[in-house]
């Protein structure tokens, strides 16, 4: 019997017994759906983390000189307490590093906290307040949509000028032109000189609800004690240059802090890589748990198919006897039932691929979780599904093939 003959026969069986077939499909269907959806989320998160998250929070080829790392999963209490005892990064530290690095870099001071911004009778709470240098916009790749960013002169002079995030500007000004208007940041008067382009959101948190003002302007009172910043951002032209600049910055900071060779740094140099290692830990956990769950659904799917096939063999014993009497060899019968179970699994896998892709799209659209379907998941899903079908079919099919035609034909 040819391959197409067998598959045609199998599809005929599937059509004839729709309900039973639906049940037999379900295990593989769920397995493949889950495989694709889970893989899509990990894949989407990965792209998101490497391209957007790390780039947004730290910046490309950029490191931050900070008191403690910003992204720190699972830090023990004692480490945390030691970190809290470290001296903060001061204006002098920042200036020393800026002047000490010989590699061409862009630098910006950065302090951040949450606060209230008001314009007229409108007040918005929980706004990201940023005290920063002029280069902040370039380093974090924030584009100005309307107006302008502040200049190095305004930066040095500590002028009361502010750039607003897109959402904040919309909320406060509701479509009116915000440029030149004066608003209050934690009560301090600031003149709006620019509005940034929309940046979207990160896990559902808006990236457009912020104010940026010169670090030396009065906003300092809202974000940090006098003379202190959260981070000095340093952006180099390339990865090796960034590494070299980091070494220089480390040396400068160590000598300023009078650290002996055997003492650890009492400050942190954080790169996008650091953020990514945090994500790497999450991903590793997902990569261990994910395949386990997928495996379980495939095993269950295989058992369901095996049961259905055993039932089919029992129900169709007479047909098997007839086929044998007409000249079907053992391998013909084996082949028939194997291709039937493989077809069941393949159809289940195909439906699973469709629903997996749909589910991923839905997750992507409805939840803040980013999901991106990878072709590898689709191929693996179909492959695994079919393998499950074949493996589950071996036992029932070999039972059918071994039936004695005399006994089989006698069955009612």
């Amino acid at each position: 019997m040819s391959f197409f003959e067998a598959v045609r026969l199998a599809l005929q069986q599937l059509r004839a017994q729709k309900l039973k077939s639906a049940f037999s499909l379900i295990g593989v269907f769920i397995g493949v759906t889950f495989l694709i959806a889970a893989w899509s989320i990990v894949n989407g998160m990965n792209t998101y983390m490497t391209e957007k998250f790390a780039g947004t929070l730290v910046g490309v080829n950029t490191f931050h000189v900070r008191r403690t790392p910003n992204f720190t999963p699972n830090v023990s209490d004692s480490v945390w307490r030691a970190w809290r005892r470290r001296p903060r990064i001061t204006f002098e530290d920042a200036r020393a590093v800026e002047h000490g690095i010989t590699i061409p870099v862009q630098t910006a001071w950065w302090s951040q906290d949450r606060g209230t911004v008001a314009y007229g009778l409108k007040t918005t709470r929980q706004v990201g307040l940023n005290g920063a240098s002029a280069a902040y916009f370039a380093i974090r790749n924030i584009k100005i949509e309307m107006g302008r960013a502040f200049t190095p002169q305004e930066d040095r002079a500590g002028s009361n000028v502010a750039v607003l995030g897109h959402d904040l500007a919309e909320r406060l000004f509701e479509g009116r032109d915000p440029i030149g208007k004066t608003l209050r940041v934690n009560g301090l008067p600031y003149r709006v000189i620019g509005v940034a382009e929309r940046r979207g959101n990160l896990f559902g948190i808006s990236l457009d609800k912020f104010v940026v003002a010169p670090a030396l302007s009065p906003i300092q009172r809202a974000v940090n004690p006098p003379g202190v910043i959260d981070a000095l951002m340093v952006r180099a032209g390339s990865e090796p240059e960034m590494r070299a600049a980091m070494e220089q910055a480390e040396g400068i900071m160590r000598s300023r802090r009078h650290l002996r060779p055997r003492q650890d740094d009492n400050f942190a140099l954080e790169t996008a890589e650091g953020v990514l290692s945090f994500w790497g830990k999450i991903k590793r956990a997902l990569l261990i748990a994910g395949p386990g769950l997928v495996l379980i659904s495939f095993v269950v799917g295989g058992i369901v198919i095996m049961n259905i096939m055993l039932m089919a063999v029992a129900e169709r014993t007479r047909e098997i006897g007839l086929r044998k009497s007409l000249g079907a060899r053992r391998r013909d019968i084996l082949w028939q039932f194997l291709s039937e179970s493989a077809t069941i699994a393949a159809v289940g896998a195909a439906l699973g691929v469709c629903s997996g892709i749909l589910l991923s799209a839905l997750l992507d659209a409805v939840t803040p979780l980013p999901a991106r379907v990878s072709p590898g998941a689709v191929v693996l899903g179909v492959l695994l599904g079919s393998v499950v079908g074949i493996v589950a079919g071996v036992y029932p099919a070999s039972r059918a093939a071994r039936l004695d035609p005399v006994v089989a034909l006698r069955q009612e």
């Binding site: 086929r323 009497s325 007409l326 000249g327």
Partner: protein
Amino acid sequence: MSETQEFRTGDTPLPDVLILTHKLAREYDMGSETVRALRGVNLQIRRNEYVAVMGPSGSGKSTLMNLIGCLDTPTGGEYWLNGQRVSDLSDDALARIRNKEIGFVFQTFNLLPRATALHNVELPLIYAGLAARGRRAQAEHALTRVGLADRMHHKPNELSGGQRQRVAIARALVNEPSILLADEPTGNLDSTTSAEIMQVFADLHDQGQTVVMVTHEADIAAHAARVVTLRDGLVAADQRRAA
């Protein structure tokens, strides 16, 4: 009729002898006791004979039918079919023989309920490894032979009992087997339809087909030219009707 060959173990049947059994025995091991369904049946059937095998239930006629049809293997003796000793062939070799040499007609028709008449008739050709186009032509020819040219695309439940049995006969004939082996072919049919089916067998016999039919009805057996009666696993009588 020509003389029956004096057959001894180690001999080869004459070319004219299609079926030859020599001391054919079949025992069933039923745990504590052994049932001897056939106890040494000697039977020779020549080409183009029309033989009815009769006997009361338990006489061994079904067992003989299974052995002749190569569905079962004997526990003793020899069975020669069409010049080939088949009594000790493997399962798959027997499947080949069933496909090429034997056309079965069953009491309960045994058609695939969801397949059309044409597809049912094509089945043996599928196992013979024929390509789809050749199969179709041959199956159509076989259905035309049994008078069902206009019912090819009907499913069994759209056909009468007599028509179903004709489909089964077409399926049995489609590979041009050496023997047509019928097991109570009229057992599920009324007398009018039975007569029709017997007429089909008679016509096929006239066209040169060898027919072996197992039945317990004397009036059905009367259609055959030769009646072999079994009793207690042995041939009790072998009568030829004058043509």
